[in-house]
């Protein structure tokens, strides 16, 4: 039953993709519907009228779009149901499907870990399919055919779900490639823009390099076992060296997909290029699938965890978290900023996962379970709020035709609902109390503070430093999202587009983000609802749940023990409401002190213009100066001079360009190396047929000699 709903989710997403293909096949749809109505509902006039009406020429595209997203939404719903069911029933279900090659059936395994990620994907897909119809309606059918968008969205979701179901390396890689390639087409959807084509190519390149690395990782495991099923791989006994090699390969492959610094560079290019609801899926969910892969590979398949791996994850995670948020800060493009912030959040997840590994390897499975819990909770939370923010960015782009933060402003009055939803997203991602981001960060700190149990003195002093880096990250994230919300929604409009913007008229475009925002708040207040579920995951995977189950009731969150640390969001919320209520009541009781509206204080000069406001680059200028070495900053100020002695400034041109260090450090040398190598290889390609014939002859001789 549980597995059936998981299959339903996969099949429905496939079906939504196939249905999208019917976009240009109205006649076929018409014929098919006539046939089926005649066959099954021949007496039902109402039904017939409805079908005929929706299949009319002018209604057809909107109807089909709606239908595709409805199917996708049901796929999400089934994924949520399947995920919740397997988590609550704490079961492991295996199955085989006779697909693929005849002697290689697909092995399916649906356990708590898969179920948890099913839940993440399901929620995200539900929100996206509420949001989608409104968003895609702005695309012109000629330039951006819905058929390809819908098809690849369906395939993409199906690929992600199949990755989670896979129980052998073959199926895993096929599903993985389905996910990667489908999302490549989605990134390349708006291909009229050369930057998007470049981004898509870069994405495909890195996805394939990553996939190769994962295949090699599986290969190392498989060479120590008999077969490619995960059961066989689990049984394999590897020496420390080979296990570490496999781990490094997997880390590279999954890290490339997850966007760990320094292999993150495709992420800020590809995410802004895709349509917003796809960037939401890619950033919120696909990165989590990579995380799933890493967890499955290291905790489940490799089994024996070594603390050095944990240190590697911790170091990479810290680098990504700090680098991600510092780069995010400097981006004027909203979707690019959000993409970099995904790098940061993935970094945080990796950090905590690294801690879990360190504790696991040092024989503290309870603390490992705590770290694991924090990592998975943050993954869940990040999926919620990053989806929310990307969908919000989509609404903004839809309504203002802008993505540049410096071109917006004052939208809180024009788009009140969007601004409220976006505010919830910003508060969650800045990990403020009462919202979900805070809970996972709090758990991360709690994990880091348990470092006293470790024997190794170096680790004991390094982990608190990493925790301080986490504190810096979250503080910088708060600064970054104050900037984002402040510049987009507050102040005065900076451009005509944002001056004329208004709230989106499409209910679904608000309902999708509203669902996510509601969940952000709910998890922030009652985190135990989800923590109980994750406990099942760690119970199955690590063989250890949180130490003190009794402390985990709905009111209190006390992960280690109530004496060590506790947090009760409901009480905090009640306290806040009481405090705010008292002072509101006290201060408002005097009727003489009603608010008087007046002009903004302009120092008596008069005439504040929108150009006098702080811009994105102005807001981050102090940080740009303090952390100057983190970026490659190219800042130019050119003055146009005029007048008799050329001393009067007529105009000032300011140009700021901020580049990623990883390009010149890693990628340009690699590109140069590849070019050089290609030139060397080019030498043997003379273009002379006789030379080529002699090559063939020599090869033939060589082969004959080898087999003889």
């Amino acid at each position: 039953m549980i597995l059936l709903s998981a299959y339903c989710a996969v099949l429905l997403s496939f079906a939504s993709g196939l249905l999208a293909l019917m976009m240009n096949q109205r006649q076929i749809m018409l014929a098919m519907s006539q046939y089926s109505i005649n066959k099954f509902f021949s007496g039902n006039v109402k039904c017939r009228n409805w079908v005929n009406k929706s299949l009319e020429e002018q209604h057809y595209p909107a109807f089909l779009r709606q239908a595709v997203f409805v199917l996708l939404g049901f796929s999400g719903l089934f994924a949520v149901i399947a995920g919740l069911a397997v988590l609550i029933s704490n079961s492991v279900i295996t199955d085989q499907i006779a697909l693929g090659l005849p002697w290689l059936p697909w092995h399916i395994r649906f356990d708590a870990l898969s179920g948890f990620f099913f839940l993440i994907i399901g929620i995200a897909v539900c929100a996206v399919s509420l949001y989608g119809p409104g968003y895609v309606s702005s695309y012109k059918e000629k330039e951006h055919p819905f058929a390809s968008l819908g098809l690849f969205t369906g395939l993409f979701v199906a690929g992600m779900l199949l990755v989670l179901l896979a129980d052998d390396a073959f199926m895993f890689m096929i599903a993985w490639e389905l996910m990667s390639v489908a999302s490549y087409f989605l990134v390349a959807f708006q291909h009229e823009n050369p930057a998007n084509r470049r981004a898509a190519f870069l994405y495909l390149l890195m996805a394939e390099v990553g996939a190769l690395s994962i295949i090699l990782g599986f290969g190392v495991l498989a060479s120590f076992s008999d077969g490619f099923t995960f059961d066989a791989l689990r049984e394999s006994k590897l020496s420390v060296t080979w296990a570490s090699i496999a781990f490094v390969l997997a880390l590279l492959g999954f890290g490339m997909k997850a966007g760990i610094v320094p292999v993150h560079i495709w992420l800020p290019e590809a995410h802004p290029a895709a349509p917003s609801h796809i960037s939401a899926l890619m950033s919120g969910v696909m990165l989590k699938v990579a995380l799933y892969g890493l967890i499955r590979f290291s905790f489940d398949l490799l089994g024996d965890i070594h603390w050095q791996w944990g240190v590697a994850l911790l170091a990479l995670g810290t680098l990504s978290a700090l680098g991600g948020i510092l780069y995010a800060m400097m981006q004027p493009n909203l979707k690019r900023l959000l993409a970099y912030s995904s790098v940061e959040n993935i970094g945080i997840i990796f950090m905590v996962l690294g801690l879990a590994m360190i504790f696991m390897a040092n024989g503290h499975p309870q603390l490992a379970a705590l770290g694991f819990l924090a990592a998975l909770l943050h993954a869940f939370n990040h999926a919620l709020f990053k989806n929310l923010l990307f969908l919000g960015a989509g609404i903004l782009q839809h309504q203002t035709h802008e993505l540049n933060i410096d071109m917006m402003g004052g939208l809180i009055k024009k788009m009140p609902q969007t601004s409220l939803l976006f505010l919830v997203g910003c508060m969650s991602i800045s990990s403020l109390p009462l919202f979900n981001g805070f809970v996972s960060e709090w758990l991360a700190f709690q994990t880091a503070l348990q470092v006293d149990v470790l024997e190794n003195g170096v680790l004991r002093s390094l982990i608190p430093v990493a925790a301080a880096a986490l504190a810096l990250t979250s503080a910088l994230a708060a600064a970054c999202f104050v900037k984002v919300f402040g510049l987009i929604f507050l102040g005065q409009s900076r451009s005509e587009n944002s001056e004329n913007a208004h709230e989106t008229g499409h209910k679904g475009m608000l309902a999708g983000p509203a669902l996510l925002a509601g969940l952000c708040f709910f998890i922030g207040i009652f985190p135990n609802a989800i923590i109980q579920l994750i406990n099942t995951v760690s119970g199955q995977l690590l063989g250890q749940t949180l130490p003190n189950d009794s402390a985990l009731d709905w009111l209190w969150l006390a992960p280690v023990s109530p004496e060590q640390a506790s947090y009760s969001a409901p009480l905090v919320l009640i306290g806040a409401l009481i405090a705010a209520g008292i002072c509101y009541w006290y201060l408002r009781r005097n009727p003489l002190t009603v608010i008087r509206k007046a002009e903004t204080w302009d120092c008596g000069f008069g005439g504040l213009t929108p150009r006098m406001q702080y811009t994105s680059s102005a807001f981050t200028m102090p940080l740009r100066r303090i952390f100057a070495r983190v970026w490659i900053v190219d800042e130019q100020i050119n003055k146009d001079m005029q007048g008799a002695m050329n001393l009067d400034v007529a105009a000032v041109h300011y140009k700021l360009q901020i580049e990623d260090h990883s390009w010149p450090l890693f990628y340009h040398p690699i590109a140069r190396g590849v070019n050089k190598l290609a030139k060397q290889v080019g030498r043997i390609q003379t273009g002379n047929i006789r030379t080529y014939l002699s090559y063939s002859f020599a090869t033939l001789l060589l082969l004959l000699w080898v087999i003889s």
Partner: protein, 314 residues
């Protein structure tokens, strides 16, 4: 009963905060050979502001009006967490020291947004600077706090303070570093000299004041009160973590009275130290603040390392 004491303690916290600000101002005035205002002056100012009609810009959104209430209640919530006169109160279990830092972040987030709401250069400047300084201060703060929480192996403030009392008078090398680290951070976070000058309204130097420039009437009163409360919070935090003696461990009237007396004395002394420091030093340039805060971070780190190497060695 416990809850009653907890609520009373919070009320006392809120009520005493302006007094501490008044006392600090009094000390500073005396040190600078000026005539000091009455100790009750901050109360009179707050009362006056609440009776005034607030003026709000036409540009302002709902966020601008909601912010003072949010800032004030977040700070009050932070005050419920910190033990003032007694440890082991039920409120301190609902949130630990990391949550307390979170409350401050919450208040700051909204204050910075309110600064941007008008779309004036002042507000943007204040928000930008405030967020910069706070993001540098937070790791330093947590480093110092982690030293404490690892010593006591709890992040619950009440539990940590109880632990320090039970250990008795021990000279911990880690605390020798953590105390100045926390002092430096407290000065930066509460916007005192040499990081920010609460008395200034010069556009190039102000940070906190620039953000709240547009506020008036009851809104200003709430924000002022919240910042006085924050100053007191940091004071109590430093006084009670590093010198916890005198705080009530039982809820008898005698112990509570004694605790009140002790914390009043400690805060009065701390304010004198702060006043002397503010008189001796000038405000530093904005781009020196990162050096100042990284020094605080370094002290915190040294504290942490000495805890790990010297105290928790096995």
């Amino acid at each position: 009963m416990n809850w009653l004491i907890a609520i009373l303690q919070t009320a006392l916290f809120v009520a005493m905060a302006p007094l501490l600000a008044g006392w600090l101002k009094w000390c500073k005035c005396r040190l600078q050979n000026r005539k000091a205002p009455s100790l009750l002056q901050p109360y009179r100012d707050l009362l006056k502001l609440t009776h005034k009609q607030p003026v709000v810009s036409k540009q302002a959104s709902w966020l601008f009006i909601a912010t003072p209430y949010i800032v004030f209640s977040a700070t009050v919530l932070a005050a419920t967490v910190v033990p003032l006169i007694a440890v082991d109160l039920p409120t301190s279990a609902s949130a630990d020291v990391i949550v307390m830092v979170g409350f401050f972040a919450f208040a700051r987030f909204f204050l910075a947004l309110a600064g941007l709401d008008m779309g004036t250069a002042f507000g943007g400047m204040g928000s930008s600077r405030e967020m910069t300084i706070s993001s540098l201060a937070e790791p330093a703060m947590l480093m110092a706090v982690f030293t404490l929480t690892m010593t006591a192996s709890t992040t619950n403030l009440s539990g940590a303070i109880a632990h320090v009392i039970n250990e008795g008078m021990v000279l911990r090398p880690s605390f020798v570093f953590a105390l100045p680290a926390l002092l430096l951070v407290a000065i930066a976070e509460t916007g005192r000299i040499p990081v920010d000058n609460p008395a200034t309204h010069l556009e190039l130097t102000m940070i906190h004041e620039a953000m709240i420039l547009e506020y008036s009437g009851r809104h200003l009163a709430l924000i002022e009160w919240a910042s006085q409360l924050k100053l007191m919070l940091y004071g109590v935090l430093i006084a009670n973590i590093f010198f916890p003696w005198g705080i009530a461990e039982t809820f008898s009237a005698e112990a509570l009275g004694y605790g009140l007396l002790a914390i009043t004395g400690k805060l009065a002394l701390l304010a004198i130290v702060l006043a002397i420091a503010e008189t001796l030093f000038a405000k530093m340039r904005l781009f020196r603040v990162q050096e100042y805060l990284s020094f605080a971070y370094l002290l915190g780190l040294l504290g942490m390392l000495s805890h790990i190497i010297l105290e928790a060695a096995r």
